[in-house]
């Protein structure tokens, strides 16, 4: 095909995509002259270009569109949804013509008068204000006539010059000179294949470079060393450069969405606003292609099932129009995409019923699950929440396909939903797929690659050193800086030949919020590896993300940390229930729990992160002083607290103790028996009124009481949560967090320090308290929450005199420097990390003290001046 025509097709297709987006914006802000100007210009350009190329059909449709847009611009025609629909229809018509043009290389014969008449009819409709009222069948005729008249009056710019223009284009073809352009072009268009080829070549170059480096390493210094280093650097730069070539803004994948949402809204009679943030975030073209469909599907879902119709929304006390928010951002080598709506949320009961009906789970199993856990069933194959499949989202693709697609590119997808408040989906995907940095390890004389992105640190372990691998009920764990880390053994997991206990290294890895260790024999270098997909033959196996060729030419498997993380701490638990839960909850944030028994036969559970050590003490070493128990522990006296009051202290034998520590202070919780360590989600059914228990939950298929660590900390150290300014009288704290578990963890801590605590589940709820006239001495807030997040809450608090002076402390699971910065900017006095749960009581106390002191100082200053 003529490459000028090719160019025209590309340009016009781009313009149409922009038009779609702009028109939807325009419909919402019809008064915005800039948007309309832009739309008009794009249509005008399409028309103008058609004239040059001699494309009368396209030209005339575009002309009709331009005509009506001109009337909008001059205020001759009101902007109605019908009118916009008509223009969108014209755009679709143009698109269809383009498709034919692309297929046949020339404009096919045909008739566009119907579309043009419809458009012109609307355009002319302004002259006669009630065109729809006459008898129905007479209307199209009148419109057509009007259109014809309109065309006849107008200078027919489309048809007449077409022939000479075509001739011109043809005549000019041989006159082309292969001159290099003097034009200072800021960008050029390159065929995708060229870039893909380049990428493959770079991959091979990286391999060869690695091979050379490896050879060099085994040699003494020679004259190749310096140039080789240079080659190495250039290769890295080249690789970066080419990777960047493939980057495209994610907005390219979003272009179609406003139109889709708009059409859906019109079709279903809803009011939906689509907010898109971070459209300029760049990611690999290949990934962009792969997430396009899942994204579209999820936005459709939100619009079709999530957002209620205006009447339902008003009845629920929400604004009439719903909002779908798309948000993309870079973070630690990944792209995060958030799709959130403020609709009705997922219907847990319906999902539950469906899961039972489809035989995905038994009623008993479901009864034991938390709501968020049940929601995850929508990711299971063959599950669709819509009772009747609508034309909109019922396309045979379910969320399971979405999840599979995301996971195929090494991404994860998390879903959370709250009834009546909406649904949020968070997708995390790597920036690029082609080349990753990986650590090469060896187990049982086989080498494996572990992606560096997931690796936190390496720990050398031996039986003699402090860092040694222990087993708690057959699950291996590592004590690392006063934390217990669940481990997986590659040997066991992959069924490799059992070695003579030669495990010498633990690779500490992190997936999402989960930290775990991988036991390996040896660790080699980190290498840039080219990821080749797993061969179809091996696709059924777990734990592998692909394979690669090393510098020495050997082929090794790349381990998939996602899969490994699921296996950590979960081996040897109740297999049946464990497997079912693992499957349904893998995508959710999991935690490791320590299960133990104390007092009765009920299992007790405590988040493993809170426990620094598990000790088995000699009962004889426990001293009983004034009704309290202490033990010599690491050259200090450590207070021991029995789990229940009637605890029978043994005179001899062993006493199992869970050690909690914070800086230089430690306490031990005496329990009867440590049972197991398991991985599962935190899903607490809050029901317990017993002191020391937060409630019960099902963990790895077993019912267990969740222990309130704060309660026991308070028993051991009355000053654990001591605050300096006691004289202030009754002090009131507000805790804002959407996690019931976390609220329950913080509240007793504060209460133990004589704070009167009020809780709110999100920022909006907190602000309602402000409207109620409530006052607090300190506000502690989570960052990520539905409805109104912590940052928005902070801005709202700082922007109003009522709470403006209240110390505000952020407590978030996200705590890199950028998050802290954003927190401070929004108005938080301090920013604390939730992840450090053991240290939390102390940090929190200190932060409150500091914030109060700072405020006091300000008050004094104000009074003095």
């Amino acid at each position: 095909m003529d490459d000028l025509l090719q160019e025209f097709l590309a340009e016009t297709t781009e313009s149409l995509a922009v038009l779609d987006v702009e028109l939807v914006r325009f419909e919402r802000e019809p008064a915005d002259a800039t948007i309309l100007g832009n739309i008009f210009r794009l249509m005008h350009t399409i028309k103008g270009t058609c004239g040059f190329l001699g494309l009368p059909r396209l030209g005339s449709v575009a002309h009709a569109g331009e005509n009506i847009l001109g009337k909008f611009r001059d205020g001759e025609l009101p902007v109605t949804p019908q009118a916009v629909s008509l223009i969108l229809k014209a755009i679709d018509h143009i698109r269809a013509l383009l498709a034919e043009l692309a297929a046949q290389g020339c404009e096919p014969p045909g008739d566009d008068t119907a579309v043009i008449a419809e458009i012109d009819g609307l355009a002319a409709g302004t002259a006669a204000p009630e065109p729809a009222l006459p008898a129905e069948d007479s209307f199209p005729v009148a419109a057509e006539l009007l259109a014809e008249v309109a065309r006849a009056i107008e200078v027919p710019s489309q048809a007449a010059p077409a022939e000479p223009a075509r001739a011109a284009a043809r005549a000019e073809a041989p006159a082309k000179t292969p001159e290099t352009k003097d034009a200072p072009a800021s960008s050029i268009r390159v065929n995708v294949d060229v870039i893909e080829n380049l990428m493959t070549l770079i991959s091979e170059l990286v391999l060869t470079r690695n091979q050379l480096l490896q050879m060099q390493r085994s040699q003494k210094d020679n004259e190749f060393k310096v140039p080789l280093q240079r080659l190495s650097h250039i290769t890295s730069d080249l690789q970066d450069g080419v990777t960047r070539l493939r980057m495209q803004p994610i907005g390219n994948a979003w272009n179609k969405l406003p139109r889709i949402v708009r059409d859906l809204a019109v079709e279903t009679g809803k009011k939906i606003e689509l907010v898109m943030q971070g459209a300029e975030t760049e990611l690999d073209r290949q990934i962009l292609e792969m997430i396009k469909d899942p994204l579209t599907h999820m936005v459709r879902n939100s619009a079709d099932h999530g957002i209620e119709n205006p009447a339902q929304r008003l009845a629920a006390g929400k604004p009439e129009g719903g909002t779908i928010t798309l948000d993309a951002y870079h973070e630690s080598g990944h792209i995060f995409i958030r799709i959130a709506d403020d609709g009705r949320g997922l219907d847990v009961n319906r999902i539950r019923a469906k899961a039972i009906a489809n035989g995905l789970a038994t009623e008993t199993a479901l009864a034991a699950m938390g709501e968020q856990q049940i929601l995850q069933f929508i990711f299971r194959p063959g599950f669709s929440t819509a009772e009747k499949v609508t034309s909109v989202s019922g396309r045979g693709v379910g969320m399971d396909v979405v999840r599979t697609n995301i996971e195929r590119i090494g991404g994860t997808i998390e879903l959370s939903s709250s009834a009546g408040h909406g649904t949020t989906v968070l997708i995390k995907i790597p920036l690029t797929l082609a080349i990753v940095s990986a650590l090469i390890v060896e187990t049982a004389r086989q080498r494996f690659a572990i992606p560096q992105l997931n690796i936190i640190e390496l720990v050398g372990v031996s039986d003699r050193s402090d860092a040694r691998i222990e087993t708690i009920n057959t699950s291996p764990v590592l004590r690392l800086r006063d934390r217990l880390l669940p481990l997986v053994s590659l040997r066991g997991l992959l069924g490799l030949e059992p070695g003579p206990g030669q495990d010498r290294f633990v690779v500490v890895a992190q997936v999402g919020a989960n930290r775990f260790g991988i036991i390996v024999d040896r660790v080699f270098d980190a290498e840039e590896i080219v990821v080749k997909p797993v061969a179809p033959l091996l696709r059924g196996t777990r734990f592998y993300a692909g394979n690669t060729i090393l510098g020495d030419g050997s082929v090794i498997m790349i381990l998939d940390p996602n899969d490994l993380s699921g296996a950590a701490g979960q081996i040897d638990t109740d297999q049946a229930a464990g497997a079912a839960l693992a499957a349904s909850s893998q995508v959710e944030a999991q935690s490791s729990f320590l299960l133990f028994r104390a007092g009765d036969r009920e299992l007790k559970a405590i988040p493993l992160e809170l426990v620094s050590r598990i000790e088995s003490l000699d009962a004889a070493s426990i001293e009983h002083v004034g009704g309290r128990q202490v033990v010599q522990y690491r050259q200090h006296l450590m207070p021991l607290v029995p789990f229940h009051d009637g605890h029978a202290w043994k005179a001899n034998g062993q006493q199992d103790v869970l050690v909690f520590s914070d800086k230089d202070r430690r306490m031990g919780l005496a329990v009867d028996e440590v049972v197991d360590i398991v991985r599962d989600r935190m899903a607490v059914e809050l029901s317990s009124s017993r002191p020391g228990l937060l409630g019960s939950a099902v963990i790895a298929g077993k019912a267990a009481d969740i222990v309130d660590v704060g309660h026991f900390l308070g028993l051991a150290f009355t000053d654990w949560f001591e605050l300096s300014s006691r004289r202030a009288g009754i002090r009131r704290a507000l805790v804002v967090d959407d996690s019931a578990f976390f609220r329950s963890l913080v509240v007793p801590l504060l209460a133990a320090a004589d704070w009167q605590v009020t809780t709110a589940a999100d920022g909006a709820e907190a602000l309602r308290l402000r409207e109620d006239g409530q006052r607090f001495d300190v506000i502690i807030s989570d960052i990520e929450m539905p409805n109104l997040d912590g940052l928005a809450l902070a801005s709202a608090i700082r922007g109003d005199a009522r709470w403006g002076g209240t110390p505000l402390i952020a407590l978030s699971s996200r705590d890199d420097e950028r998050d802290r910065e954003a927190g401070r900017e929004a108005g938080f006095d301090d920013y604390l990390a939730k992840t450090d749960q053991a240290g939390l009581p102390d940090t929190l106390a200190r932060a409150i003290r500091a914030a109060l002191a700072a405020r006091q100082a300000n008050d004094n200053l104000r009074r003095a001046s």
Binding site: A169, T177, A183, A185
Partner: protein, 127 residues
Amino acid sequence: MIGRPLCLVVDDSRVIRRIAADILRGFGFQVGEAEHGRAAVEFCRRAVPAFVLLDWNMPEMDGITCLRALRSMKLEPRPVVVMCTTENGLTKIREALESGADEYIMKPYDRDVLLAKLEQLGLTEPA
């Protein structure tokens, strides 16, 4: 031969820029391209074209604004500017001429039309 004269095609459509550029190269010009008025002004800061073919309706900076900007730059030697227009209203044409355009040309144009314009402006010797 003292080098081929430089001309600048300003249009937001790649396709039209290419058509115009191909025609102009055929006449022996060196051709620069700009996708909107601002880019055209930038271009002229670095190299003064003998001839500018300037579209009207463009993003960022439209043709008439660009024209006024070019004229206020007092470029030496003064480039000949031809405004392209599909809007052949008299007011538009007058506005263009008053703002310093030397000629205007109706879109779509072809090789012959453009050549005639250039000859009329004395930019090419008749073939």
